[in-house]
């Protein structure tokens, strides 16, 4: 826009840019401040929250790794997250195929039903499943939480895979069929490789959805802690810097998951925009 503009206009445009930057800088600071704060806190030597920390130590990391309750909770959350990922892909991939390619009655309704867990407040889903699971004596079972998380992860899986499948050129598959491939071969050899980046992205999102989820786990976990539930209880009961160390570790785990998505999937930005 500024290439052909006279110098005075260009100066004004530059001034506008600077003004915009000045407005946005504190907003960006507001966005990252809470993430930055936990790093020094996790390395503090003080037994209570103090900022800036009076000295540096690894004691809160030691307290995390030395406490079987924390480790148990972390392992349980990882297992639940992995199960949720597999389960939501196992039912979500066929569903996405079905919704995009199918022309049967009730398809729109099913589509709405499958994405609605994203819209319905999690407290409602939690209380509803809690009522059912209490009756079925499933409270405290890790796979119960994984099943409930699968419902929450499903919208992400079908939205991402749905978008990918819709953008796919179906004639490639037709060509494979025409060349004598079976329908299954065509899907496995042509379609799946084509949508693989989206599958990775959907998997990462499903994992994060579960790994980060508190409200459902709070109701369904019983005495079996998940990582977010343990964190919640810790924050509520006592403010102890162990939670800061856990926070840092969690930021690292999520960052790794996102880097995987960036490398093998469609990228974190694409994920968020969707």
């Amino acid at each position: 826009m500024s290439t052909r503009a006279p110098p005075s206009l260009r100066t004004r445009a530059r001034l506008r840019r600077v003004a915009l930057g000045l407005v946005c800088a504190p907003i960006f600071a507001f966005l990252v401040l809470p993430l930055v704060v936990v790093f020094p806190l996790s390395l503090s030597s003080a037994p209570y929250l103090q900022f800036p920390p009076p000295g540096l130590s690894w004691r809160w990391y030691q307290s995390y790794f030395g406490d079987p309750v924390w480790i148990d909770a972390t392992v349980r959350s990882l297992v639940i997250g992995a199960t949720t990922t597999l389960a939501s892909l196992a039912v979500g991939m066929p569903l996405a195929f079905s919704l995009v390619r199918g022309r049967y009655w009730g398809r729109t309704l099913l589509d709405r039903l499958a994405v609605s867990p994203m819209i319905v407040p999690s407290i409602i889903i939690s209380v509803a499943i809690y009522g059912l699971f209490a009756k079925l004596k499933l409270i405290g079972a890790w796979y119960g939480i994984a099943l409930a998380h699968t419902i929450l992860a499903l919208p992400f899986v079908i939205i991402i895979l749905g978008a990918s499948l819709r953008g796919l050129d179906e004639s490639l598959e037709q060509a494979a069929l025409g060349l004598g491939a079976s329908r299954w071969q065509a899907i496995r050899r042509v379609t799946l490789p084509e949508i693989r980046p989206s599958i990775v992205t959907a998997a990462v999102l499903a994992f994060i959805t579960s790994f980060d989820e508190l409200v459902v786990a709070m109701f369904l976990a019983g005495s079996q802690m998940t990582l977010p539930k343990k964190m919640f209880d810790n924050i509520r009961m006592e403010i102890d810097p162990t939670i800061a160390a856990v926070s840092v570790l969690q930021i690292l785990i999520i960052t790794i998951a996102l880097l995987i998505a960036q490398r093998f999937g469609r990228g974190a930005t694409a994920m968020a925009v969707e």
Binding site: L35, A128, A268
Partner: protein, 293 residues
């Protein structure tokens, strides 16, 4: 469409219509596992919850929820906080989205990282960090006292202000991204045309750019408002038991008071409100989320 093809199935040979019908049946079958899961673990429990609220065929619990001033106050606080959070989120997000949409590629990539990083950080981590920042002896108060801006620590935590700050932080990405997407769709030629026709910067913004990005503002506001209304974690922690929003009340009724019918009635009101807001919003814009649309 399906029936129209069935008519053609009378043709000899394994006609395309037969093949297509078989394919459609297979495609429908692919939805069965997900449908079963959704029916058992989503639709049935939610319907069961709703049924619980009208057990015995009476609306007593709704009368309690919507009649007693104690609980009306909760609805009022919830709506008030949701409105304030939506407004503040919009004010903070619009310039950021504008920056992202108009800056250089490097600037946009950096800015995006700053917007998206919090989105993928555990909400618990962020809420905890705000407790550290906003507490009586927190970083914000200490810094303000150190520079002499205040003498006494401000009450920033365990009240509505703390809840609002925390929620704005959590929900900002949900506002930035739709507005950004709408701004990217604005045709730069239109802005240039307006400039060529002699409109000033402010006038171009107000008459051309703002209306064209309105769709994103609208989508972001609906999203943030609906998410705010059902929010649980941030009010539960930053409110310190003093800011009771509807989701917090539902949790208390289920876990502490064990009053299931009342909790169900509250949940039903929340659910109906959520669906109604989305329904109205979708009717207005004609936009839908989903795999097929």
């Amino acid at each position: 469409m399906c029936s129209a093809m069935t008519e053609a199935a009378h043709a000899p040979r394994a006609s395309p219509a037969v093949v297509e019908r078989r394919r459609q049946r297979l495609l429908a079958a692919l939805a069965i596992p997900a449908l079963a899961l959704l029916a058992v673990l989503f639709a049935y429990p939610v319907l069961r919850l709703i049924a619980l609220s009208v057990e015995g065929g009476s609306l007593t619990w709704y009368a309690k929820a919507l009649g007693e001033s104690l609980y009306l106050e909760v609805f009022w606080i919830t709506i008030r906080i949701a409105v304030i959070v939506t407004a503040m989120t919009l004010v903070l997000s619009y310039p950021v989205a504008y920056f992202l949409a108009t800056t250089s590629r490097l600037g946009a990539a950096l800015g995006f990282a700053l917007v998206i990083l919090p989105l993928w950080t555990s909400i618990l981590v962020r809420t905890y960090a705000w407790m550290v920042l906003l507490g009586r002896n927190g970083i914000v108060n200490k810094s303000l006292i150190a520079v002499g801006a205040i003498d006494e620590p401000l009450a920033l935590l365990h009240n509505e202000l703390g809840v609002i700050i925390g929620m704005v932080h959590v929900l900002m990405p949900y506002m930035v991204l739709p507005i950004y997407a709408a701004m990217r769709r604005v045709d730069p030629d239109l802005l240039q045309a307006a400039e060529g026709l002699g409109a000033g910067t402010f006038r171009i913004f107000r008459r051309v750019f703002l209306p064209l990005s309105a769709q994103g503002i609208y989508a972001g506001c609906i999203l943030v408002f609906v998410l705010s209304v059902g929010f649980f974690i941030t009010p539960a922690l930053l409110g310190g038991g003093r800011v009771i929003m509807i989701a917090v009340l539902i949790e208390q009724q289920v876990r502490d008071v064990l009053n299931w019918p009342f909790a169900s009635a509250l949940a039903t009101v929340l659910l109906v409100a959520t669906i109604a807001i989305y329904g109205i919003a979708q009717r207005a814009t004609g936009e839908r989320t989903g795999a097929a649309t």
